[in-house]
Symmetry: C2
Subunit: 130 residues, 2 copies
């Protein structure tokens, strides 16, 4: 079962990360996601991390990589469901999620992506756009 499902919801792809990430799984996710972006012509990627109780530099880099890949494929990436403790730890560790927008939950994330699609440069008002 070592595969992370990618669900199409409207114009977006939704990924819910529930299992411990390691190198190979992260690579497979990046492959699958970029392939599915091309196949479905989705315009957004929603990554739910509500199951993660720690976001370390490895996960952070993976998220940034996914956002960068999605961007060149003309899609916006929003991370949703971050736990309060994860936000605290991120700041304490000095990690920045470069190029990643954040939203509280999936509904708000979908709304943010729709705004970003319509106005790619003006989306920094909501969430933690960087």
């Amino acid at each position: 079962m070592e595969q992370i499902p990618i669900l199409k919801v409207g114009r977006c792809l939704l990924v819910s990360i529930q299992i411990d990430m390691h190198d190979k799984l992260a690579m497979a996710l990046q492959d699958d996601l970029t392939q599915k972006l091309v196949d479905t012509r989705a315009r957004g990627v929603l990554i739910d991390i509500s199951a993660l109780d720690l976001v370390d530099s490895f996960i952070g880099r993976m998220l940034s990589n996914i956002a960068a890949m999605a961007r060149v494929l003309d899609a916006q990436t929003v991370v949703v469901g971050m736990r309060p403790q994860v936000a605290i730890t991120l700041v304490e560790l000095g990690l920045t999620l470069t190029g990643i927008h954040t939203a509280l939950d999936v509904d708000k994330g979908l709304a943010l992506i729709n705004r970003l699609i319509d106005d790619p440069d003006g989306g920094s008002g909501a969430g933690g756009a960087q």
Copy 2:
């Protein structure tokens, strides 16, 4: 990380099952899901099983239980993303997913739930309604 995230998407709750289910996890999922149905007043439950390569009688019973619980809480349950091999095995094992509607993917599942909400008794046209 032994907790299955429940995501609110519009009027529905979306559950993506990615890890091996066991008794305790299934009980926890039922508890979380019913609690969240009440908290969010959601009208539908979408269960994505695209990561499962086997649906045995235990998973089948859990899905049926969730559907029955959701029904008394005024919500419709649709299972999405079933692999072809899983469908074959289900029939070969003689398992029936009692009370469960099915749809090919999340988008079709959301559309089916919206139809079922508007017309709870007439939804047997699409998917594998029973």
